[in-house]
Symmetry: C2
Subunit: 107 residues, 2 copies
């Protein structure tokens, strides 16, 4: 289980990949493999949460890192780079949003 | 605290709003007000989690609903509609992604 809080000092990456429907599952599989093999072993990793849209056209990774420096170090790591490149090739476009949680409301 | 699981039957809405940086905080405030006054009282609401991007250009609402029918009923409700209309006007564009969690990885 991943927890979303607004009172802890972490960095959230919401990466929205736009894909052709015929590539959606392949991109999901690739992100899961990349996370299990490499990304979750990088310093500062907290979580990755892979979502697929019902319309078949988007995959979203909601990820948490201990700091922006940790996230940027992962982007440059030799281990992660081949996986990231394959994900970028499989998607038509992607929009990585680095952000902070400002408000949490729940039942 | 909001929890992300991949073993429960809920619907996730990831709504990415693109805004001018001078409007980012106003949109955050509006979404918080709309959630507290109206949306969290609608049937089927589980959570809303408001994020602001460090680049000032995006606001993301990561929301959870018990079902797609509950979410769609909220969109049509007379209570929520004025808030949703104001949010749409304040944003330059928005991309609501209805999706399911397929994989959760964490430390």
């Amino acid at each position: 289980m991943t927890a979303i809080h607004n009172d802890c000092d972490i960095v959230t990456l919401i990466n929205v990949f736009h894909v052709k429907p015929e590539n959606q599952q392949a991109l999901v599989d690739l992100l899961i493999e990349a996370t299990e093999r490499t990304i979750q072993h990088q310093p500062g990793f907290i979580s990755a949460n892979i979502h697929k849209s019902y319309d078949g056209r988007r995959v979203v990774n909601y990820a948490q890192w201990q700091s922006r420096d940790h996230f940027e170090a992962m982007l440059k790591s030799q281990d992660a780079m081949p996986h990231l490149k394959r994900a970028a090739e499989l998607a038509e476009s992607y929009d990585p949003i680095l952000c902070e949680v400002v408000s949490v409301h729940h039942l």
